[in-house]
């Protein structure tokens, strides 16, 4: 193992984007006590129904949050990348209402909820930055409801892939053009409410359109403009360039 992150730097840099954290806020955040854990792909980090006293911050890798209906059909409700605080709600609730699972090998930092809550009480700008994160999460969920509720299969898949690529680029984890998608067909199916068979067929269409390309065993977005047009993708709901909070502080 080499180069695995050992600090909360990437989470701080995500929080600092678009908010007005001062040097003391930043130092206090980095001084939070945490325990590092590296897990293999497909390992569950949090299970629905578990008692939770820790907040999970993703330092490396790619994870999904999902829920299951009674016959075992899975719906992925969000994807997360390095720098994301995956389960802010576990600062406030005692039981996990969904499962968090690593899609690729992942490294997370577990932060005790009491320590994090205490810090947020002492540092209002940090509290605002975290609140802002939760609001962005909510905006992304609204977009997913629209995506799964109203877009056809091809647009739905394209939109989800655009979001993953766009967020990765904003976090400095890759460029949307030529971005390597870390997802299998069945994971895309579970995130878009489709069957794996239908996803395979739609990916064939996206390949034929030249919007994506096969790169070994993974896919890359080959034509960002075409992909966005197919997807009806417009990134304002991610609020990545919104600096209002930084200006009013």
């Amino acid at each position: 193992m080499h180069g695995l992150p050992r600090t909360l730097e990437c989470v701080l840099s995500r929080l600092a984007r678009g908010s007005a954290l001062g040097q003391e806020d930043k130092a206090a955040f980095l001084a939070l006590p945490f325990r590092i854990e590296s897990v293999a792909a497909h390992k569950a980090l949090v299970q629905e129904g578990d008692a939770v006293h820790l907040c999970c911050m993703l330092l490396d890798g790619f994870v999904a949050r999902h829920k299951m209906e009674q016959t075992g059909k899975r719906q992925i409700v969000s994807f997360h990348q390095a720098g994301d605080i995956i389960d802010l709600q576990h600062l406030f609730f005692s039981t996990a209402d969904h499962t968090v699972e690593a899609i690729t090998p992942a490294t997370v930092a577990w932060v005790a909820d009491a320590a994090f809550r205490g810090l947020l009480r002492e540092r209002p700008l940090l509290a605002e930055a975290v609140w802002r994160e939760a609001m962005i999460d909510a905006s992304v969920f609204r977009e997913w409801v629209l995506n799964i509720g109203r877009r056809d299969a091809k647009a739905r898949i394209a939109h989800m892939l655009c979001e993953v690529a766009e967020r990765a680029e904003a976090a400095g984890l890759g460029s949307s053009q030529g971005f390597q998608l870390p997802l299998t067909q069945d994971e895309i199916a579970d995130a878009t409410g489709l069957t794996g068979v239908h996803v395979n067929r739609m990916i064939q269409d996206l390949l034929k359109d030249g919007a994506i390309a096969r790169h070994g065993r993974t896919y890359v977005i080959a034509d960002w403009g075409r992909m966005c047009a197919i997807a009806d993708f417009e990134d304002s709901y991610l609020h990545q360039n919104d600096t209002r909070l930084a200006q009013v502080a």
């Binding site: 299998t184 068979v197 239908h198 067929r201 064939q204």
Partner: protein, 79 residues
Amino acid sequence: MFRYHLNIYDDAVALDEDGAEYADLGMAREAALCGAREMMAARLMAGKPIALSHRIEITDGGGAVLATLKFREAMTIEP
């Protein structure tokens, strides 16, 4: 669990390069059936024609065809 590939032959060919794991061939066929129905439903809603001869072939990792599902078998039509 065994890995099966569900290759689609409709107005294009979509080979299932990754495949997916199922308990047995019956479960793989069930997945093909759900997929065929979902694709046909999407075509119906978009006002596109459905060809009953379109099919999904289920193969093993070596490419041997273990079962074929015609779209015709995935629906019941009553007058």
